[in-house]
Point group: C2
Chain length 239, copies 2
């Protein structure tokens, strides 16, 4: 679980504070050896996680809960290891995942509640929930989501862009709109581009029928903008 | 409404970022004149507010909502002006208050949820809610709370230390304990010393019957420790 506000995302990068790097460095201190973590989701800079999952191999004979507690003592208050368990050697937090759930949160207030300012992105147009839900239905299922993959991101763009969205749920509570997406996997920036597209549809800037066409075009430019990172949270991963 | 994490409290001080100073400086830009704010509660460094109230006098003929919106545009995302209204000239946000409500939040988890780390203080002992509630009952009513006033705080210590606590409600939801206190006024650090004392009673370090004695002693040393600022929030003020 992490508040991603002040991190440069999950994945280790040179000269950047990433969640993976912080956890790996704590593990190194605890086990005395260099440890390589594999995370389920490569969350971007500013993206949060309630249910990130990561695995690593170690020769350490330390008790599982001792490792967990030691990690939490070493880590800053922004990252919390919620639980720890043994997995088969062939387990890979990313590749073994059956599905991942992301939540995108939007506030429609003109000025954002200070207490959620890092966890909801502002969208100041009124949203037609019906349009958004119908567009979401068109996205659900097995499709080529190439139009919803960030273009030009070296190393992150996949050649196989077919994914299955199992469910999209859109809810409004007071001034917050939650877009929950479950899929067997996500392309780079896919949730944020889907959120950005659904928001454009919700405000009436794009027709709700455009989803089919966008999917067919297989061109990033046909979809809506990438919604800001701070509204995104990796909620859970299923195996 | 403000997230007080990165502020040196409400009240203007030399060379310190305070909420009052930020709002006054924004008001100065908007009205073109120096403005003096009077706040209902002088929240400490790190203390939050959902319902702070402040008043000021101005000759500006700007529309009330324009002032509110302009303030929100000038202020950082950590402070939000929720509403604005006209008051009689003699209104004083602090002195005219009939009662104030503060909430103190404690988490009993050993490691704190990253998303509430600035809003709940950690207390890792099991708490006896019954003891805490009975002790709270002994605090309720009109008493001399001198024992619950921070000592030696220049300018902040009051000679009249009699206050009326109208209600204390203690609730536990999952791993969070909420202490809600309503009083006609609070002495310096009073809520945090009450919270600190109730927590000592809750963990069995002080007997629940000790409240009467503490009140009678009129000595800060007789009460429990001052609970950390980050768990405190000014919830509302009634006039």
């Amino acid at each position: 679980m992490y508040d991603g506000t002040h991190y440069s995302g999950w994945q280790s990068q040179k000269n950047a504070d990433t969640v993976q790097r912080c956890v790996e460095s704590a593990l190194r201190k605890i086990t005395g050896r260099k440890v390589k973590l594999t995370g389920a989701g490569r969350t971007d800079s500013g993206v949060h996680a309630i249910g990130q999952v990561a695995n690593f191999k170690t020769h350490s004979k330390l008790d599982l809960n001792k490792i967990k507690d030691a990690l939490n003592s070493h880590l800053s208050g922004e990252i919390l290891i919620v639980s720890a368990g043994y997995v088969p050697l062939k387990f890979d937090a990313q590749r073994s995942a059956r599905s991942k759930n992301y939540r995108y949160t939007v506030t429609t207030e003109r000025f954002v509640d200070p207490f959620i300012r890092h966890f909801a992105s502002r969208f100041s147009y009124p949203l037609n929930m019906g349009s958004m839900r119908r567009a979401a239905r068109a996205l659900t299922g097995r499709h080529d989501f190439k139009s919803f993959q960030a273009s030009g991101s070296s190393g992150s763009s996949e050649s196989n862009t077919v994914r299955t969205i199992k469910k999209i749920k859109i809810e409004k509570r007071r001034n917050l709109v939650y877009i929950d997406i479950r899929a067997d996997g996500f392309l780079y920036n896919m949730v944020r581009i889907i959120a950005g597209t659904l928001l454009e549809i919700g405000r009436g800037k794009m027709p709700e029928e455009s989803i089919k066409e966008i999917l067919l075009k297989r061109d990033r430019r046909s979809a809506g903008p990438t919604a800001p990172a701070l509204g995104l949270c990796l909620v859970s991963v299923e195996y």
